[in-house]
């Protein structure tokens, strides 16, 4: 505002008004940080939120004996770095993390693509196609978010057993897709509604049907929203334990990383060299995805109801 408007008429405060926004922020920052308590508190929180992760990551590179006999903060006294933990965790005969890593990828990709596609189509129909009981149906879908997934697990499992594909990837894909739909439809519907009606009308006048409008007009405009929800769903599926434990927990051929790490923590809770490296492996992919696409992720968070 201050940077784009022409110079204001001379006034007693003209000097301050000419200050650019950045400078203005800088001066405000100075006044805020001048309180040592405030900055001290912020630093304490920041440390509390990072040191535990840092400690585990650092430990994952330390030799087994060192991890078990002294803390990572004594590394300057007991130096020593090794990749053995990762080697054992990834390729060791007893754990076979690489298998679980592959399972995680195989589970995650379809469980992200399928619900987003279906939710996009549904959101479009709810936003732009006229049909009877539309609003009622939309509210019903929205309300399904109330159902906690725990309620659905056993009936779904027994149905999968009946149909003969229990313990396969299909069950995990289908379950994740179903559980993601209500929220996905709601969020994408919010984005869909924000698109100017004139655009869609113009396409209709040109004789385009709903399918053409969806693919050629709306989809390109929704790329940021799709990315936002895609990251959401990715993190959700990749980090999920309950669904995986229920539908794929028993079979090493399907179980993802989280199941394996949780199992390690339960059965070999003192094998810290394996636990540290295992946890590090399981968080590295979401961390990379998150850090590189942080902007979209935050946008997705904010679409959840705090718009405007």
């Amino acid at each position: 505002m201050t940077t784009t408007t022409p110079p204001p008429p001379p006034a007693p405060t003209a000097g301050t008004k000419k200050v650019s926004r950045a400078e203005q922020r800088a001066t405000e920052a100075k006044t805020k940080l001048s309180s040592p308590w405030a900055s001290g508190l912020a630093i304490v929180i920041a440390i509390l939120w990072t040191v535990p992760t840092f400690g585990l990551l650092l430990s994952s590179f330390r030799p087994e004996l060192e991890i078990k006999s002294n803390g990572w903060w004594t590394i300057w006294r007991n130096p020593g770095f090794t990749l053995d933990n990762y080697d054992e965790v990834l390729y060791g005969g007893s754990t076979q993390f690489s298998t679980f890593f592959i399972n995680s990828i195989v589970i995650t990709l379809p469980a992200v693509i399928i619900p987003i596609t279906l939710a996009l189509l549904a959101a479009y129909a709810f936003a732009w196609i006229e049909f009877p009981y539309r609003d009622l149906l939309f509210v019903a879908v929205f309300a399904l978010q109330i159902v906690p997934i725990q309620v659905t697990l056993i009936p779904l499992l027994s149905e999968y057993v009946k149909w003969g594909f229990a313990g396969s990837f299909w069950t995990v894909w289908l379950s994740h897709s179903i559980f993601a739909l209500p929220l996905a439809i709601y969020l994408l519907h919010n984005f869909m509604k924000d698109i100017p009606a004139s655009l869609i009308e113009a396409a209709r006048v040109d004789g385009a049907g709903h399918v053409k409008i969806f693919f050629q007009v709306l989809l390109p405009l929704l790329v940021p929203a799709i990315a936002a929800f895609g990251i959401f769903q990715f993190l959700w599926v990749w980090n999920d334990l309950l669904v995986a434990l229920t539908f794929a927990g028993g079979t090493q051929n399907v179980a993802p990383l989280t199941v394996r790490v949780a199992e390690l923590a339960g059965s070999r809770g003192t094998e810290w060299h394996l636990l540290a490296a295992g946890a590090a492996v399981s968080i590295v992919v979401p961390l990379i995805v998150f850090l590189s696409l942080q902007r979209y992720f935050v946008r997705g968070l904010l679409a959840g109801g705090v718009k405007g």
């Binding site: 922020r25 805020k32 912020a42 929180i45 920041a46 535990p52 400690g55 803390g71 903060w73 399972n103 990709l109 399928i114 279906l118 189509l121 549904a122 129909a125 732009w128 049909f131 009877p132 399904l144 906690p148 725990q150 309620v151 659905t152 056993i154 009936p155 779904l156 009946k162 149909w163 313990g167 396969s168 990837f169 299909w170 894909w173 179903i178 739909l181 509604k193 009606a197 006048v205 399918v211 993190l235 980090n239 309950l242 229920t246 051929n253 989280t258 790490v261 949780a262 923590a265 809770g269 810290w272 636990l275 540290a276 946890a279 399981s282 968080i283 979401p286 904010l302 109801g305 705090v306």
Partner: protein, 401 residues
Amino acid sequence: MSDNDPDRPDLGSGSSSTATALREDVPVAAPRPPEGSPVWTGVLVAIGAITLLGILVVVASLAGLWTPEFDWPSWLVSSVTAVEKFGLMFFAIILFVAVMTLILLAVDRARGVRNWAVALAFLGPMGLMLIFGLIYPGVRTIRESFFDRTSTNYVGFDNYATLFTEDIFQIVLRNTAIWVFIVPIVSTFIGLVYAVLVDRTRFEAIAKGLVFLPMAISMVGASIIWKFVYEYRPDQEGVEQIGLANQLLVWVGQEPYQFLITAPWNTVFLIAVMIWIQSGFAMTVLSAAIKAIPDDITEAARLDGVSGFGMFRYVTVPSIRPAFVVVFTTIAIGTLKIFDIVRTMTGGNFNTSVVANEFYTQSFRQFNIGLGAALAVVLFVLVIPIVVYNVRQLRLSEDVR
């Protein structure tokens, strides 16, 4: 010009009556040129017939009238090598894309397709999935909660009576109450304070990134991280602590403490992990809301001599109330369903179990289906008021706008 008209009728939301009225003069069902191809009409009819048949089969199976016996080829249900797994994954994706493409092409190309048919093509797949995966299982679980452990004999409210009278479930319910009480309040508070503290400072981006990072880590990963922090070594000569928390205790001259084993405080130390994860979420949403406060409001308050804590209390907090409600209820719902942290850190032992974890234990370890179902229903009942409150608050804030 007209593109920027702020008063443009919102054709998307059907919730207000004015929008519906305005929509009538828009050619929604534009008369389609009669160029649909008969081949695609046939395809569309075939798709509809196959879908109907499929629904009948599934319903028959759900109703117990017919037991499906399929001999799936082994590559479809059990893949062992990495190549097989990725092959199956691409097969599934391509199959899905092909089916959806076929449906959409057919509905687009066929002759004389009505609006409701188009809507059905767009909504049908997700509708079937929701009915199969959420509505039907929900209803069945409620029914099972009134039956015994093998869901054969009707037992009335016995399972619920067990839940609310037996000691171990008393502890489970108490723990869940503590979780739901502490986590939303503390996470929202820390998130808010931190958002205000780092707002418009030079290090804002990185400072927020650091606190937000735990959101990307799985709860299992976070549990391992904190298990390591809480790790206990007996207080003996020559034994060093390897957990940071106990090392701090030793440094200040205290005895090391069994953080995860000593009840009842171990629940609080588990809760700390959830707060650690959720504060970043609260901070991000609240920070965005704070930045959305119009400058003239803060300016006016400043001219009136409001500053520092007064500004926070009388300007910032009231202005971001809607965001507050969203953050609070979202975290509360997530906390009610908390499972991963308890499962990974203590397995529900040492009096730390919560409803979701006990549900898992009863259903899949004790094989008491009835009791597990009752626990799931309790969860369901507890979530309802929070969601309803959330929706009502959202409605209110939309009305104000």
